[in-house]
C-alpha cells in the first residue's frame, strides 16, 4: 500500500521544490470557519460524515483567519458584511485563496437588490466559483479540487515577479 511499496528501499525521493511545496499546500489547506447563509449549511455537510472533506486534508476549519489558507465565501454577502469580509481576508496570511460558493456569492444570485453585493469579487479576489443555489457538497468538493489543480500549477518564477 502506498508510498512504501512504490518506492521500496530507495530511501530517497527526488523532486523539485515547486512540486514539494505544492504537494504540501494542497494536502493540508485549512479553510476559514466562516459561514454566511444557506451555503454554509451545505459547507458543513461537506465537512461532516457523509461527504467528509478530511479526505482532502481539509477537516480542520480554523475560526481564526490568522491560521487559515482558504476562505470559502458561503452565502450572500450583504453591504454591511462586505467590509468585515474584506478585513478577514486581509488578516489571512499569504498564500491565500478564495472560493466563492453559490450563486449569491458569485453574482448576486436571485437577490438583485439594494442589500446584496452583486458578486463577492467586488470585495476580494476569487479563485474558483462554485455554481448552485446552494451547491451540493459534491459541487463544493469539485471546486476545492479545481483550486488544488490551480495551486499545483503555481510556478515560483511567476510569484516572484
Amino acid at each position: 500500500m502506498g508510498v512504501e511499496q512504490k518506492l521500496g528501499n530507495m530511501g530517497v525521493v527526488t523532486t523539485t521544490l515547486e512540486q514539494a511545496v505544492a504537494w504540501s499546500r494542497t494536502n493540508a489547506m485549512w479553510p476559514l470557519l466562516f459561514g454566511l447563509a444557506c451555503c454554509a449549511i451545505e459547507m458543513m455537510s461537506a465537512q461532516a460524515s457523509h461527504y467528509d472533506m478530511s479526505r482532502f486534508g481539509m477537516e480542520l476549519m480554523r475560526p481564526s483567519p490568522r491560521q487559515s489558507d482558504l476562505m470559502i465565501v458561503a452565502g450572500r454577502v450583504s453591504r454591511k458584511m462586505a467590509p468585515v469580509l474584506r478585513r478577514l481576508y486581509d488578516q489571512m496570511p499569504e498564500p491565500k485563496w478564495v472560493i466563492s460558493m453559490g450563486d449569491c456569492a458569485s453574482c448576486g444570485g436571485v437577490f438583485n437588490n439594494y442589500a446584496v453585493v452583486q458578486g463577492v469579487d467586488e470585495v476580494v479576489p476569487v479563485d474558483v466559483y462554485v455554481a448552485g443555489c446552494p451547491p451540493r457538497p459534491e459541487a463544493l468538493i469539485h471546486g476545492v479540487l479545481t483550486l488544488y489543480e490551480k495551486v499545483r500549477g503555481i510556478k515560483f518564477a511567476d510569484v516572484q515577479k
Binding site: 454554509a40 449549511i41 460524515s49 450583504s78 437588490n113 442589500a115
Partner: protein
C-alpha cells in the same frame, strides 16, 4: 464598498453602563465571524472579568432585502425567495407563504397535498432540529454529535431531493397544492427514516442527556420564565421549555394537523437544558406525525383544479386550448389577487412563522412582511446573558437556535 466605521466608547454611551465609559469594565466584540454565533451575529459584550454585564446584539449582517424583492415578483414567482429566508426550514416557509396566498385568493387544497405537506414539513422540522443539535453540541465541545446529526440529515435531504430535485431549496409546496405528486420511491424512503431514526434519537440521548459535562454546561443557564417569554414574543421550543403550552399545530391547527395524534412537550425549568429536552422530544413527535400521515395518505390530485390561480398539468397543455391559455397567462402576467390583507402563521422549528400579505388588487403583493421567530427569540438574549459567564453565553446562543437568515431577512 463602505469602510468599517471606527467607533469610540462615547458612541456606545447609551448602550453600556457607566463603568464601561470609565474603563472599569471591558467592551468586547463577539462576531460577526465567530464559530458559536451560528452565522453572522455580532454581540457587543460588556465584561467584568469573565462575567457578562451587558450583551447588545447587532444584527443586519445578512440583510438580504427578501421582503422587498418578493414585492417585485408575481405571487407564484415570489415564493422562490421564501426558501432562502429561514434556510433551515425551507418547506415551512413555503407552507406559510402558500397558505397565505391560498387564503387571499380563496383556494382549496386537496387532502392528499395537505398530508404530503405535513409529512415534508415535519421532516424539515426534524432536519432543522438535527442541525441545531449538532451545532449546539459542537459549541459545548461534543464533536461527535455534529457528525452523527449530519449523517442522519442526509436521509431527509434525500427525500427532499426525490420529491423536488433539490436538497435544500425545494419550492415544492406551491399555492394551491404541490408542484407535482411524490414519486413512487417516496414511501419506502420515508418508511426507512421512520424505522431507523427512533434508535438514533436514543443514541443522542445516551450521549448527552445524562452526560455530566452537558449537565454542568446547561442546567440552570439562560433561564427565562414563561411570562418573560410572552413579553418578549418568544415562541416555539423556547416558549414551551418555559412551561407555556403553545404550539400552533395544536392551538390553531392548519393543513390537517388536527387529525394527527401528537403531544406538545413542555418543561417548566426554562433553561438551556430544558430547551434541549423539549427539542429532542419534538423530534420524536415529528416522527409520530409523519408515520400517521403516511399511513393514511389519501389518493387523489395534489393540486387545485382552479386554473385561474394554479397552472394546469403539463399533459393538458398539448391537448386543451384553455389549458394553454391559462398556462401562458399565469406565467406571463400572474393572477390578480383581490384587494385586502392576510396574516397567516405556521409553527416553524423555531416558533411562530407568520406572513403578512397586503394586496392592492394587482398580480404582485403590495407589501409582504415576515414575522420570523428567530428575530423575536433573539431579543431575549440581553436578558438571558446578564450575569452569566462568557462560556455560558455560547450555550445560550446555541439554545435559542437562531438562523441569521431568519433574523435579518
Amino acid at each position: 464598498m463602505p469602510d468599517i466605521q471606527e467607533v469610540t466608547v462615547d458612541d456606545l454611551k447609551h448602550l453600556v453602563s457607566e463603568k464601561a465609559i470609565q474603563g472599569e469594565t471591558m467592551l468586547l466584540n463577539m462576531g460577526p465571524q465567530h464559530p458559536s454565533t451560528h452565522g453572522v451575529l455580532r454581540l457587543l459584550l460588556e465584561l467584568d472579568g469573565e462575567t457578562v454585564i451587558n450583551c447588545i446584539p447587532d444584527i443586519g449582517f445578512l440583510h438580504t432585502g427578501i421582503e422587498k424583492n418578493m414585492e417585485a415578483k408575481t405571487y407564484q414567482k415570489a415564493e422562490v425567495m421564501s426558501d432562502r429566508l429561514d434556510y433551515m426550514n425551507p418547506v415551512g416557509n413555503n407552507l406559510a407563504y402558500s397558505m397565505a396566498v391560498e387564503k387571499l385568493v380563496e383556494l382549496d387544497v386537496p387532502v392528499r397535498a395537505q398530508a404530503i405537506r405535513v409529512i415534508l414539513a415535519e421532516l424539515t422540522r426534524y432536519q432543522s432540529h438535527l442541525v441545531w443539535l449538532g451545532t449546539a453540541a459542537l459549541d459545548l465541545a461534543a464533536m461527535s454529535m455534529f457528525l452523527y446529526c449530519f449523517r442522519e440529515r442526509e436521509y431527509i435531504l434525500d427525500v427532499m431531493e426525490l420529491c423536488s430535485g433539490q436538497r435544500m431549496m425545494t419550492t415544492y409546496i406551491r399555492p394551491g397544492g404541490l408542484w407535482r405528486d411524490v414519486p413512487v420511491e417516496f414511501e419506502a424512503a420515508v418508511r426507512n427514516i421512520l424505522k431507523t431514526f427512533p434508535k438514533r434519537i436514543d443514541e443522542y440521548e445516551a450521549l448527552l442527556t445524562r452526560n455530566p459535562l452537558m449537565l454542568d454546561r446547561t442546567l440552570g443557564i439562560g433561564r427565562l420564565t414563561g411570562e418573560e417569554c410572552l413579553n418578549f414574543g418568544v415562541t416555539g421550543p423556547m416558549l414551551r421549555a418555559s412551561g407555556v403550552k403553545w404550539d400552533l399545530r395544536k392551538t390553531r391547527p392548519y393543513s390537517g394537523y388536527e387529525q394527527y395524534d401528537f403531544e406538545v412537550p413542555t418543561r417548566p425549568e426554562g433553561d438551556v437544558y430544558a430547551r434541549f429536552l423539549v427539542r429532542l422530544e419534538e423530534m420524536r413527535q415529528s416522527l409520530k406525525i409523519v408515520e400517521q400521515a403516511l399511513n393514511k395518505l389519501p389518493m387523489g390530485p395534489v393540486r387545485s383544479n382552479n386554473f385561474k390561480f394554479v397552472p394546469p398539468p403539463r399533459s393538458e397543455i398539448g391537448v386543451s386550448m384553455e389549458a394553454l391559455i391559462h398556462h401562458f397567462k399565469l406565467w406571463t402576467d400572474g393572477f390578480n389577487a383581490p384587494k385586502g390583507s392576510i396574516y397567516n402563521a405556521v409553527e416553524s422549528p423555531r416558533g411562530e412563522l407568520g406572513v403578512y400579505l397586503e394586496s392592492d388588487g394587482g398580480p404582485k403583493p403590495y407589501r409582504i412582511h415576515w414575522r420570523t421567530p428567530s428575530f423575536d427569540n433573539l431579543q431575549s438574549i440581553p436578558l438571558m446573558a446578564k450575569g452569566v459567564l462568557v462560556a455560558d453565553l455560547v450555550a445560550i446562543i446555541g439554545s435559542i437556535d437562531i438562523v441569521l437568515g431568519d433574523v435579518d431577512r
